[in-house]
Point group: C2
Chain length 454, copies 2
């Protein structure tokens, strides 16, 4: 039997483990799932004889190295910052490694050692990063192979609630780390390239500089810019493009309302509020509004942000119950962002029957025989339930498929890498289609940033 | 003769040196001015026989210690970060020291050694910090001595252009370090206390949360909050006040227009723009606006900030010539803030005949015999010319007066200190009046933050 070690069995491991179990007979696999808490893994495995759970603390050298030594390949589903010890062991014991995380500086530094041993360390092979890399590079390579020259690339991804479970005014629930949602966009101006010119958006304008996107059958979305749209410019071979923009998708109207939190300073994660524990939600909101002996927190809020009482944005804040004087923050020495996260969790936590959704939208602009063309490519994946979520599917399946492809010798190029080569993305994207993860491509007139064609 | 060593002879040393020279006969003084460049010092001394210039590089241990060893007292007018070497020598050679700078951590750490030697290291004795400390503490102490209990303290200072030289639409020119003006308010939310509640303003809202102040004979001003209004709460003995607010004064309308730069991201000093050198002012502005194949930079600017064409704020930007496609930035790898600074210097540099102005406004609220009272205290100082500026006067004179008071044994308490005790502020504030630096006090009804008395 061929052994696979999966380290970490959190929310995004359900489809990954199911995939391995379903193939365990035909591919002759034995799956070991190591986690500090094995409850979830045990539930996912059930009575399957070709799998086991072991207690594994990634910081305990002995149990970690013992498990890695024993296996044929390692899949690390740990948070990104915990991969490095696993990666070092994989070099020591000559094991291939697959992760869905961004390549850290420390991971990149292992490249030479990995190559020396002829190993494959595949990273960023989940969703954003992952499926976005593969689906983008497949179209970009095809355009180039046909003699086209890329002039525009825009790419957008969103983790949202599925339409059938979309029942709040924000058209949003937390389907991923809530903290990351609250602090999204912070840490410096967003930078991107539009028609040959760099453009910069400071954090406090980010949610007012959105653009609209339409996906057939799913309606309109909006997107705000990621901090560094140029990150993969060189890696994708797009050094000469005129437009390069990466963004995050939300339903239309989310950003305009979210901007109110940004404007008031409620998303700040850089300082703590002394007496946060005993504060009501209303007190918290009032921290960011001028003092008045008479005016209500509601009126001050509306006045500061110039919100009319019949503006739908107002109902969004009422829905979150942020003016409630009876609900308490109950967090000691919390930052504004931590308190906001807690308030939002009251309203934006997925209910048991809720389904999530992953949406992706790429635009490829290119020039061929003196003419400009554009291909728009979209993907929508909807979750099955709270265990088999769209997030777990789009993160876990590419990781699982890549793992087997490496074991079966379909992927052979060694090194610390991300899935941007044909060798990698071709078999994986093909197999993802069997699971309903596929892209809908459309040729559209090239408009660049000139939608009115002036 | 009693010797005074003045290290540093920059813009704010004119009145300081004049004061010493004027007193040199009657007080039997000899003034040595040490600077790396002695041009300004020579001009200020003229042919006076009781003063000399020496070349002094503060980083050259030999010349620095030699000069300090020789003198009776040291005045350091260097930028704050350069004081520490001078301060250490002053301990070694048992010399008193006077500076106008904030007490740094390193300076504070010398306190014990300074006290052991019975020395006086007087700091923060210029203007903001300096005259603000003294004038505030004089009133606060008086209120307390009369049995009053402080409940509110607000304090505002501004360095502005004098009314007779105020000839641009911003009612502003650079009378102090332009870089500090451009980045003012950055680095975290402004925090203050209003009627017993902490209030927080994020940087991007700072210039929209101003308050108005009126000074008789000088019209209306506005103020935006300093980052940390609570800095001197304990030092001033105001632990129990309900309201504590410190701010920076501008002419009304400045902040609303300045906010446009903040909103666009032009005051950001945290990243460099690659091709800044060859960029026109117009290109620079366009970096922060969406791309359009047809719309002008002007229209995009107005649309983004929702500025009507007949709004006076629009004329302010035209006055700065920021849309000029012929003027070039000419700064390599500059940050947005550095470029904005350069653009503003074109318009906001004081002309030869221009005069500057320092304004200060304190509000003291207190309770006595069950009744609430308020005293408002204001100061206006106008410069004489570009050498004898209001800034040089309000910084240099208190430093000079304190120096002589220390030499003459009027100030005796040893230690690293700031001028908040009666021993210090009484003689200095009294003598400042002879130079036209005086406060206009008024009893007003106590309104706190309830101006309509509801």
């Amino acid at each position: 039997m061929r052994k696979i070690l999966v380290i970490g069995s959190g929310k995004s491991s359900s489809f990954l483990i199911k995939y391995f179990l379903d193939k365990s007979e035909s591919e002759d696999l034995f799956i070991t799932i190591g986690d500090i808490n094995t409850t979830n893994a045990e539930r996912l495995i059930g009575k399957n004889k070709r799998a086991e759970c072991i207690k594994l603390d990634v910081f305990d050298n002995e149990s970690r190295t013992a498990a890695i030594k024993e296996t044929n390949i390692v899949v690390s589903m740990l948070p990104a910052r915990y991969h490095i010890e696993v990666a070092k062991d994989c070099i020591t014991y000559s094991k291939n490694l697959v992760t869905a995380s961004y390549v850290s500086k420390e991971m990149q530094e292992l490249d030479e050692a990995v190559k020396e041993k002829g190993l494959i360390f595949m990273n960023e092979i989940g969703v954003d990063p992952g499926i976005d890399h593969m689906s983008a590079m497949q179209v970009i390579d095809r355009i180039r192979d046909n003699g086209g020259e890329m002039i525009l690339f825009e790419s957008f991804t969103g983790g949202l609630v599925a339409p059938e479970s979309d029942n709040n005014l924000w058209n949003y629930k937390f389907t991923w780390n809530p903290r990351n949602v609250v602090v999204a966009g912070q840490g410096g101006a967003a930078k991107f390239l539009q028609e040959g010119t760099y453009k910069y958006i400071p954090y406090h304008r980010l949610f007012r500089r959105t653009e609209f996107l339409e996906i057939e059958g799913y309606g309109r979305f909006e997107a705000y810019a990621n901090r560094d749209s140029l990150k993969y410019q060189h890696v994708y071979g797009l050094d000469k493009v005129q437009t390069l923009y990466r963004g995050t998708m939300r339903r239309v109207g989310f950003s305009r309302a979210w901007n109110v939190f940004v404007q008031l300073g409620m998303t700040d994660d850089s300082y703590v509020i002394d007496d946060s524990e005993n504060m009501s939600y209303r007190d918290f909101v009032n921290l960011f509004l001028p003092y008045s002996p008479t005016d209500s927190v509601e009126l001050k809020f509306r006045h500061q942000l110039k919100i009319d009482q019949d503006d739908i944005i107002w109902d969004k804040f009422l829905e979150l119950d942020i003016f409630n004087a009876k609900k308490h923050v109950e967090l000691k020495k919390a930052t504004p962002a931590e308190i906001l996260r807690k308030i939002l969790l009251d309203s934006w936590t997925l209910a048991h029957e809720d389904k999530d959704m992953i949406v992706m939208y790429h635009k490829f602009g290119y020039q061929q025989y003196g003419k400009k063309h554009q291909i728009d490519s979209t993907m929508v994946v909807i979750g099955e339930d709270q265990t088999y979520t769209a997030m777990a599917k789009t993160v876990g399946l590419p990781v699982a498929i890549a793992t087997l492809a490496i074991m079966n010798g379909k992927i052979t190029t060694p090194g610390v890498q991300i899935p941007i080569t044909k060798e990698v993305y071709t078999p994986i994207l093909k197999e993802l289609e069997d699971f309903g993860i596929s892209f809908n491509e459309k040729e559209v007139p090239y408009l660049g940033y000139n939608p009115l064609n002036l």
